[in-house]
């Protein structure tokens, strides 16, 4: 039986396994987001491979959607380009399956608006994800209590539902997210959209620290994290750091034929920053 029973150590989900190792080594997680198919399938493939090589802990693979609500201009534009190239959920799952067959072992989380997977069908999409060995799923426009049966469908296939919480989430809801999120908790660090930002302080620090104490799963912080310096600063108090727009933006500015050395260096700089924190 592959990876369905989560209580059994033998079949532990790769995300949980990774965090367990990190905890032992007293390290923090670096999670990177790539928009599937942008600027090209080839760059997405190479980025996935390079993330594994460089020591990134988890990759979030974005499924493009025509109308993403929580995304700022960078990921919106990436999403549109990917759709224009003919990127679909189906093609991305095929690509991931191929990469898995070639030795890609890094934990992968699918990040998608609800509509694309709802259209494919929840069960069908879960089966396709399982086949591509997707380890978790984040659906930013599906609040955890909107349709709890969705979580059940993916969990049944060994795909962990990762839930989001924010600085302004009502305390009761916040507790529910901490209790129900699997793999990790996605802490949205700002009242706003995904994008680039420079921080002077981390006003949400205490909330994250308090959340960690009450959460079963590790608490990782995302939205607006751009520089290695900020990644390091946040890694000092969070269990992990999620970077999206900064990478998507960089990939889009470079060759769609292959992953540029500059992008590799950028990834390296984030890994170094996060891994420098103990």
């Amino acid at each position: 039986m592959p990876r369905t029973s989560l209580s059994s150590k033998v079949n532990m989900n790769p995300i949980e396994e990774r965090f367990k190792i990190l905890r032992k080594q007293k390290q923090k997680a670096l999670i990177l987001f790539v928009e599937g198919g942008d600027p090209s399938f080839e760059v997405t493939r190479q980025t996935l491979r390079y993330c594994q090589e460089a020591g990134v802990d988890v990759v979030e693979l974005g499924i493009p959607f025509s109308d993403p609500l929580a995304d700022g201009p960078i990921i919106q534009a990436a999403s549109f380009r990917a759709i224009e190239h003919g990127t679909t959920f189906h093609k991305l799952m095929l690509m991931l399956s191929e990469e898995r067959a070639k030795g890609l072992t890094i934990p992968v989380v699918v990040m998608t608006s609800f509509n694309p997977i709802n259209k494919v069908g929840l069960d069908q999409s879960a089966r396709m994800m399982k086949h591509a060995r997707v380890d978790g799923i984040i659906i930013p426009d599906l609040p955890h209590d909107e349709d709890p049966s969705v979580r059940t469908v993916y969990e049944k296939h060994g795909i962990l539902p990762i839930l989001m919480t924010t600085p302004t989430t009502d305390p009761k809801r916040h507790e529910q997210v901490l209790k129900r999120s699997r793999g990790f908790v996605y802490y949205v660090s700002l009242i706003g959209l995904t994008g680039l930002m420079r921080r002077s302080s981390f006003s949400f620090k205490n909330h994250v620290v308090a959340s960690k104490a009450r959460s079963k799963a590790p608490v990782c912080v995302g939205f607006g994290i751009t520089t290695a310096e900020d990644a390091r600063g946040i890694a000092r108090f969070a269990d992990g750091v999620i970077i999206g727009s900064a990478l998507v933006n960089h990939l889009a500015l470079h060759s769609p034929k292959h992953l540029s050395d500059a992008s590799k260096k950028l990834i390296d700089s984030w890994v170094a920053a996060v891994k420098s924190v103990r």
């Binding site: 493009p64 959607f65 025509s66 109308d67 993403p68 609500l69 929580a70 700022g72 201009p73 919106q76 534009a77 549109f80 759709i83 679909t88 959920f89 189906h90 608006s113 609800f114 509509n115 694309p116 997977i117 709802n118 259209k119 494919v120 930013p140 426009d141 599906l142 609040p143 909107e146 349709d147 989001m164 919480t165 924010t166 302004t168 989430t169 009502d170 809801r173 997210v177 949205v188 009242i191 706003g192 959209l193």
Partner: protein, 388 residues
């Protein structure tokens, strides 16, 4: 259906499919609206403004030409006579007053053709609230006069350059603005769409249309017809009539035809999907990407439809159909020529349907068409299609 009675749902349609950050704002709105709608003072304040400022109740005008054509007694519910020229102001007055009660300091809205934007800018001017209207860049070019109108009343108009640069993208950007400014901003959505409680709240503010119609026909109403884009004027007309025996007909825009790629017939051709925070019928690809809707009338080209309409279609209580641009233009000319009333191109779809199906009306029965807006805004556009 398991979810039939779940809060925020109409059968399986509706819900709150929004980023977590908006949940607290929707909860706040739900509580505030729940209180307001039970508050006599609030209700009478809305009613007074609608009466003294917007021009309610609106007339019920008998249409000799349509009566002759159908053999029924056809009346027009004259929402076109309201201030700003369409039903939209019923909702914006209500929502902006509610926002004030909630202590919000800033209003945002989306607009397609500009009618809802103008109605929101109007309410904001009246109540002294700053107003930002998101409008697809393409629409700002097509509807320059409405942009000017909004600015004249003090609103800021933001051209939206994302996506298809039309109404659907304007809604996305308005929601994104709301995410960023959720503490002090109220989003005045312009139709019976969006996450709960919007579909219900917008319907309630428009239900004055159906209530007046019931009074004006003394409850003897056999058929009601309204055009459906997002579906606000239709929901306002239909909702008070659901308990009656009246036959209800919703007319969508078939654009160049429902079997072409250029239409807005969401309920005729759409499949179930999630857009703008709610589940309903949606024009989308097999991969779940939302498709652009097309119609000669900018107010109907929305790729989704209000969740309550989706329920009423599924339950069969309302009959939904679609007519083409061509038929709408015939309705537009017919009413102008025969009655001296230039209807909005949106409304012209309802007129066109009636013209094409005169025999389906009950002989001697009472038929009401919701004349949702006046056509002044459309005359320039229509002049490209009509030779006089």
């Amino acid at each position: 259906m398991q979810k039939q009675h779940r809060k925020g749902y109409f059968m399986e349609f509706g819900g709150q499919f929004v980023p977590e950050i908006l949940k607290s704002a929707l909860d706040e709105l739900e509580v505030a609206y729940g209180k307001a709608k039970r508050d006599r003072k609030f209700k009478s304040e809305v009613a007074t403004i609608l009466r003294e400022y917007a021009g309610r109740p609106t007339l019920l005008t008998p249409s000799r030409s349509l009566s002759k054509l159908t053999g029924a007694r056809v009346f027009l519910k004259r929402e076109d006579l309201l201030h700003t020229g369409a039903h939209k102001i019923n909702n914006t007055i209500g929502q902006v007053l509610l926002a004030k009660r909630m202590g919000k300091r800033r209003i945002i809205a989306e607009t397609g053709a500009g009618q809802h934007g103008v109605a929101t800018a109007t309410a904001c001017a009246l109540f002294g609230m700053p107003c930002v209207v998101y409008m697809g860049k393409k629409d700002t070019e097509r509807q320059r006069l409405n942009v000017f109108r909004m600015k004249l009343m003090g609103a800021e108009v933001v051209p939206v350059t994302s996506g298809s640069q039309t109404l659907k993208d304007a809604i996305n950007d308005a929601i994104r603005d709301w995410i960023k400014n959720v503490r002090d901003t109220h989003y005045v959505i312009g139709s019976v769409v969006g996450p709960y409680p919007y579909p219900e709240m917008v319907r309630d503010f428009h239900s004055v249309i159906g209530k007046e119609t019931l009074r004006q026909t003394r409850g003897r109403l056999d058929v009601a017809i309204a055009c459906v884009g997002g579906g606000s004027n239709a929901m306002g007309m239909f909702h008070p009539l659901l308990k009656t025996k009246a036959k209800l007909i919703g007319v969508e825009a078939a654009g160049e035809g429902v079997n072409t790629a250029h239409h807005s017939a969401t309920m005729t051709k759409g499949t179930v999907g999630i857009l703008h925070g709610f589940k309903s019928y949606l024009l989308q690809t097999a991969d779940g990407q939302v498709q652009e809707a097309h119609s000669i009338s900018a107010g109907l080209d929305y790729p989704g439809v209000g969740p309550e309409h989706a329920m009423l279609k599924k339950s069969g209580r309302v009959f939904y159909t679609a007519v083409t641009d061509k038929v709408a233009l015939e309705g537009f000319q017919f009413l102008s020529r025969q009655e001296g009333i230039i209807p909005a191109l949106e409304t012209s779809h309802a007129i066109g349907y009636l013209m094409k199906n005169p025999r389906s009306m009950p002989k001697g029965g009472t038929v009401v068409v919701c004349l949702s807006g006046r056509g002044d805004k459309d005359v320039e556009h229509a002049s490209h299609f009509i030779k006089l």
